[in-house]
Symmetry: C2
């Protein structure tokens, strides 16, 4: 017996923890009702089969990733996760167990991030895709925007770069299992909240440092200088790419690390706070006057940033 | 020259009116920032090629419909439209002019409904789909939910039923141009706001009266009796279906009319308010004790409601 849409929805929802205080009415009505005071950061991001995941991903991976890419956007604003909506399009005849495993992967991350599933939608389609809308709370005026950077601010990158791109390359070239960094990106939510007290601007690295730094600079009307040799390049990337490793990492997408612009007067306190909180950050350069973005190597040579990963076209 | 994702986004966004006061930060950052006081109704609904629209729809129709189905959910809660997010998945090589025409159809309805585009996402996919998340404001505790109905409440339906289903049938059977009701559903926003002062429960008719009434009854823990001969059946449906017209209409999906449960003591005032506002509503039955849903014909015969339109399976 094929379960109806409504049974599938009930089973999907049952995998999630009970909704938190921000959700007054959860799944099952025309709309969810959420409580809201002050400002909300809201974002929508979609993952599509053969583009953001493949059959080599487990259903749990897919559920995790669909939510993680949205949480990463909340992290980049310094927002505290509150609620999300989930729209799933899938081929008719998708195994209900697959759907349940997607829910489990998503629910595990939702529990960790303390975000409530407020509602969603199922529809039939030729390929599997998941579009999530996530909302997070910020005190009024406190969100980390892309346009807050000023010349002189120091640039920090969290974690390590390049592993997701290397994993993708290996998967495409020789059918290797996708790297954990591609399958299970870690949204830097705690770092985003911490950084709200120090940084003036932030963006998450989904399209590659080269491209995302460009977005931040354009919106802040500044340039930037990045020291390639100070980029926190993943060890596997260093090993595989040798001298080209930093460039490869700067071009890589799907790292889901944060890029933060911190005023120099706050930098020491920011670094101390990160150490205390166990958040790994590296100072990689600074914002400059003008519009030029320069990636500098040890010999002092500068280059334009790589174009990075384009989501469309 | 193929425009980049970022150029496409800029052009898409440019078709929309400037964001309203509810949006503090619009498209272009990791998240949008929205102002919120009290309660928000939020919903997500997705339309997919060859399921909710076909090549016989104009791009403007597609843009309209993607937003309309979400606004209909806001209408059913009695919420005032505030902001929305739009995630579009489309085949590589989609003509940028098509995208712009989708934006225009969507923007025309957004302007009419006074809702602001707060942000969105583009991604490549094998087929075209649009997932929208819409938010609307309601005073605390004032939303029209599915679970507020009580035995004795009178059931009202807005507008007319069945035309969208008839259009679909004709399109599938003989390649007729899709009916306007399928291409350009009208969300009953003004009626939803008006009904907030009178109705105890509401739902929008997307899956057919038979099925949607069932949702309302289950959530309200009541039954219902509907007079088939009082259903507001579209004239074209009466003509095409004769004696079976009411049954056909009760089974039809995609009407996007509202079904409202109004306490008998408020019914006369509700009808007067609708007349004054030019909102067409028909009293079609009432909620009853128990769980049975009965559709009654002129001779007094009762039948179980049709199963209606299942979105998945």
């Amino acid at each position: 017996v094929v379960p109806s849409e409504f049974e599938l929805i009930d089973r999907f929802v049952a995998e999630f923890p009970r909704v938190g205080a921000s959700v007054r009415l959860g799944p099952g009505d025309d709309c969810a009702i959420v409580r809201a005071d002050g400002e909300l950061c809201v974002t929508t991001d979609q993952i599509v089969e053969d583009r953001h995941f493949t059959r080599a991903f487990s259903p749990e991976d897919i559920g995790h990733k669909a939510l993680a890419v949205n949480l990463s956007d909340l992290a980049a604003m310094g927002a505290r996760p509150s609620w999300f909506l989930c729209a799933i399009a899938m081929p008719r005849g998708t195994d209900p167990r697959t759907l349940r495993r997607i829910a489990r992967g998503m629910a595990a991350l939702a529990r960790e991030a303390r975000i409530s599933l407020a509602g969603g939608n199922f529809t039939a389609a030729r390929e599997l895709s998941i579009a999530i809308t996530a909302a997070g709370e910020v005190p009024r005026g406190a969100a980390l925007r892309r346009d807050g950077g000023r010349a002189g601010d120091l640039l920090y990158v969290s974690g390590e770069l390049g592993a997701a791109r290397l994993g993708l390359e290996r998967m495409l070239a020789r059918g290797a299992r996708p790297d954990r960094r591609q399958r299970r990106p870690t949204p830097r939510l705690a770092l985003g909240l911490l950084a709200r007290g120090f940084a003036r601007a932030a963006i998450d690295l989904s399209d590659g440092l080269g491209q995302d730094l460009g977005h931040l600079c354009r919106r802040s009307k500044v340039g930037a200088e990045v020291r390639l040799f100070d980029l926190p390049v993943a060890r596997a990337v260093r090993k595989a790419k040798g001298e080209g490793a930093a460039w490869f990492a700067a071009e890589g997408g799907e790292d889901y690390e944060l890029l933060l612009a911190v005023p120099p007067g706050r930098a020491a306190a920011f670094e101390r706070a990160c150490r205390r909180a166990g958040e790994e950050v590296s100072c990689v350069g600074r914002l400059t006057r003008g519009a030029a973005i320069r990636l500098v190597d040890r010999s002092g040579h500068a280059a334009e940033p790589p174009r990075g990963h384009d989501h469309f076209g």
